[in-house]
């Protein structure tokens, strides 16, 4: 069974519990959005799911195998991970940066023709072909975000885990990214898990939402099931309502509850 599953995940940060007994099961072809206030444990949960952090209790299972037991390169071929604050240390050419995503695939001989094709495809998917020769340090924030997304997609992963991938993008790029992520899930069957802060974007992007508060899973389900006034009041301390706008659901925030 092709699922990414967290069982009873508990993570301690000092004396505090960053995650407390969180269980969830994610399916390919679905976009799952992890929501929750600052410090709720979203990033910690994502890192556990990606096999980058060993939970203190519980285990993450990828397609029937414990994710921490997989050889790192094999795990990296299946799960692409985009950290929250992306770092690009050197002024690389954009194409070379995207190529870094092929590291789990390349043999001793360096990039193969297959790798080159994958790089071309990922850059086409993200609309960054025109930037191939450019120096990433000279790109705009939106261009850089798309290059980093291409870097994640270049391994054609079964799972894409991204920590706040839409933060800092203008509405146009946000829309492009939402469309691209949904297409990847629906057409390629990729399982997509992202953390977000924007509730309207979450309502439009997600097939399923997991709402965290203080390390616990408050509720999970479809956007309409999760984004209710009661849940939002409990998680964020806000008075809010999901209303239907002309372009889809809008989360209207009325004030502090």
């Amino acid at each position: 069974m092709k699922v990414l599953e967290g069982r009873n995940l508990t993570v301690k940060l000092g004396a505090r519990l960053a995650l407390e007994a969180v269980s969830l099961s994610l399916r390919p072809g679905e976009v799952t959005v992890i929501l929750g206030p600052n410090g709720a444990g979203k990033s910690t949960l994502l890192a556990c799911l990606g096999g980058l952090r060993r939970p203190d209790h519980g285990e993450v299972w990828l397609e029937g195998q414990p994710v921490m037991g997989l050889p790192p390169a094999e795990r990296a071929r299946k799960i692409a991970f985009m950290p929250q604050t992306p770092e690009i240390a050197w002024p690389l050419e954009a194409r070379i940066l995207v190529g870094l995503g092929r590291i789990p695939f390349i043999g001793a001989r360096g990039l193969s023709a297959e790798d080159a094709n994958a790089i071309d495809l990922a850059m086409r998917q993200t609309g960054t072909e025109g930037l191939a020769e450019r120096d990433v340090s000279a790109l705009s924030g939106g261009e850089r975000a798309r290059i980093l997304l291409a870097r994640a997609l270049v391994g054609m992963p079964d799972w894409l885990l991204a920590d706040e991938p839409l933060t800092g993008l203008d509405p146009g790029y946000q829309l492009d990214s939402v469309n691209l992520l949904r297409t990847l899930a629906k057409r390629e069957g990729c399982g997509i898990v992202v953390t977000l802060h924007d509730l309207t974007l979450a309502a439009r992007l997600a097939d399923r939402i997991i709402l965290l508060k203080a390390g616990r899973c408050l509720t999970e389900g479809s956007p309409a099931e999760v984004l209710t006034s009661d849940h939002l009041a409990e998680a964020y301390g806000i008075e809010a309502a999901l209303i239907n706008g002309p372009g889809g659901p809008i989360l209207d925030i009325l004030g502090r509850s």
Partner: protein, 324 residues
């Protein structure tokens, strides 16, 4: 042909020409035809017992410093890193000086002590900087190590039994390739090569680290293994290099920075050119100090520092401009 390949060919040609010049040049000029002359000729002795080891050592030490500089910059993601700035060379020197002052300057003991010092230095560096490799903590850890090693060396010198011993240590510290023998070369070269080989293994991990630690780990890189290869590799190669030549700074800092515009900034692609570039720079420096007419030959380490300090300054200014 790519720019990188052209640069590699250019550096190789420069290295060959400089090696030939290095065999000829010095207080006594050894002209080319003599190389095939009789072994009884005194010039032949100069050529093979003095110039040849000196030339080979300059190349090996330069390659070591260039390569480790490029690798440490890649690992710390900081263009201001090199074995000198991070205090590894100074710790190797402390090890060597301790051996010298104990009168244990045998061909085997001095390099061993220097490598042990370098290894302690690298381990302390990694411990001080923690597993998170931020630019600031690494440079601060380097400052601490340099201060500590400096104090250690001063202590050893002040405890020296006689002025002659202190003078010998001082002389050695300044970094030079004068009067090194084939035996020095034979002992140090395998360690430099083994160390450089270990450092070379980290190329792919250094590329992945461009995306930060989390990014690298998500690409399946085992960072503990990277740290192990790098620490052992830098300790062996820098330790052996410092043991034969004393401290020669700035090579590891300057060379990667000069080559990046030519070969690209990808860390693994920079390793080989940086090794060649380091060899070129040290060999050129060593030929130069032999040609400067002076009462006593100017020490190579001093010459490099005189060239390197202004370079360090301009690098800092350009970095500050970029960050502003």
């Amino acid at each position: 042909m790519t720019r990188r390949q052209m640069t590699l060919i250019g550096l190789t040609l420069a290295l060959i020409l400089l090696a030939l010049a290095s065999l000829c040049a010095g207080k006594v000029w050894v002209p080319f035809p003599l190389w095939f002359g009789s072994p009884t000729d005194p010039l032949w002795g100069i050529l093979f017992q003095l110039r040849l080891p000196r030339t080979l050592l300059a190349m090996a030490v330069g390659a070591t410093l260039g390569l480790t500089g490029a690798a440490l910059q890649g690992y710390t993601r900081n263009p201001l890193a090199d074995p000198g700035v991070l205090g590894v060379s100074a710790m190797a020197a402390l090890g060597a000086v301790t051996a010298l002052s104990l009168g244990l300057a045998g061909a085997a003991f001095l390099p061993t002590a220097a490598m042990a010092g370098a290894l302690i230095g690298v381990v302390m560096l990694l411990m001080l900087a923690g597993t998170g490799t931020s630019m600031v903590t690494f440079v601060l850890a380097g400052v601490i190590l340099n201060t500590l090693a400096g104090a250690g060396v001063a202590l050893v010198m002040s405890l020296a039994p006689n002025p002659w011993a202190a003078g010998e240590i001082m002389d050695w510290l300044m970094g030079s390739l004068v009067d090194r023998s084939l035996a020095d070369l034979a002992f140090a070269l395998p360690f430099m090569m083994a160390g450089c080989g270990l450092v070379g293994l980290t190329g792919r991990a250094l590329d992945a680290l461009t995306l930060g630690e989390t990014g690298a780990r998500s690409l399946g890189i085992n960072l503990s293994r990277t740290r192990l290869w790098l620490a052992l590799g830098v300790a062996l190669s820098t330790g052996a290099a410092v043991a034969v030549t004393g401290v020669i700074g700035f090579v590891g800092l300057v060379v990667p920075h000069l080559l990046r515009p030519w070969v690209g900034a990808r860390p693994s692609g920079l390793l080989m050119p940086a090794a060649l570039g380091g060899a070129v720079l040290v060999l050129a420096g060593d030929v130069l100090v032999r040609l400067i007419p002076a009462e006593a030959e100017i020490k190579l380490g001093v010459a490099m520092a005189l060239l390197g300090a202004p370079f360090f300054l301009t690098l800092l200014i350009s970095l500050r401009r970029r960050l502003a």
